[in-house]
Amino acid sequence: MEKLINDFSFGLFFWQIIIFVGLIFLLKKYAWGPILKAVNDREEGIKNALQSAEEAKKEMQNLQADNERILNEARAERDGMLKEARQLKESMIADAKAEAQTEADKIVAQAQATIDSEKKAAIADLKSHVAELSVEIAEKVVRKELADKDKQLELVDAMLGDVTLN
């Protein structure tokens, strides 16, 4: 301790204090202030950049989710439309089929009716022809048969016989 006090030089102490305090203020103004400010600004900048990047990422995700949603909606709408169209088609086909059926039935029925009436007419026509023809034939036969008296009687007999059989 005594050696320390002995070694102590007031001059050096004096200069050290003056120079060192001067150095602190000089460096504060020209070095530490600007350096710390620059470093701070840079860190702030990096922080902000990271933050905005994070925000952009989030926004991007939102956007993507939105897109997905819209796409899904569109897909669902398309599916619905397709389904509706299919149903419409099916119902149309069914309707057409039914209508065609009824039309066809009607046409068939009409044709049947026409055929029936034609047939009846034809039968009636044929009947009348046959009757005429048979009367003519009968007339001719009868005329020939009844050329003689015996034969007329015989016929009357045969006819009478038939009547009794009936």
Partner: protein, 353 residues
Amino acid sequence: MQKRTILKTFIALVLIFSSGNLSAKEESEGEDTKTVIKEFIDHHLQDSYDFTFFSDKEAGKHYGFPLPVILWDNGLKVFSSSKFHHGKTVAEVGGSYYKIDHGKIYKTDASGVITYDEDHHATNAKPLDFSITKNVVTILLVCILMFLLFAGLAKSYKKNNGMPTGLGRLMEPLVLFIRDDIAIPNIGEKKYKKFMSFLLTIFFFIWFLNLLGMTPLGVNVTGNIAVTFALALLVFLITNLSANKNYWGHIFWMPGVPVFMKFILAPIELLGIFIKPFSLMIRLYANMTAGHVVIMSIIGLIFLFKSWIGGPLSFGLAFVLSILELLVAALQAYIFTMLAALYFGMANEEAHH
């Protein structure tokens, strides 16, 4: 006697050329070499009135330059230290006579008689000494270096959009280290800013001076008690002038302990105010001085052993210790800054009870 010349050169160039090429061996007295080495180390540890790079005692030549001596002795007296002729002669300035004894200037008569008391202390009158000594020159040199380095770094930020360039770039991580690992954890996010200039300046100042002490310039500034006292005094002043009510409350009326304990603790805490910076002063001084002494002594061993094994052995030891000292240089700067920040933090702590 060629040998001692070599010794001077060797020790002055501290390690760089310390290999074992001891050529001139003489059957000289070992005791004498020992004393020379001891004196040389003592001389090296002390401040000096001129900047000597190395000296040749046989030829009586000193290679260096004189520095201005500034005395206050019934008026300002400024003269060159060359007047002392390296302490050998009496300097006569304006009718007064001065002589250097054990690194201090004393007022003497014309023949330069210095009287000693029984403890071998000079009893002559001491003028107020404001000389620009070797250490003051070194301090100024470091200040200029720091200013150029850090002002350059500050400028490079402006030029390059916030990115450092050049040599300052190496220092930026350290500036950030002091801010993020010393100032903020110890002082707190809110208040650290006003202490930053001091902490940064003191860290780089001590570190650069420590490193400069490892060069062959042969300076020992941070191992000087006046310098460490000045630094510790600044820490003391800043701590106590910035201290808040909570800090003084903890010293004089410790909260949370019984009343009679408060009376016991107050003087202890009060003493602590002075012990804290005092420990800073002694720690830096002792570490740097010890480092210088050990390294120089080991280099001195080369000249004591005078054998083929002494040289390489001393060289190896000195080399390893130099590397250790490089670490110590940074470590002591770190510890000083760290503890200063801790004390500032304690003085500015907010009440949390």
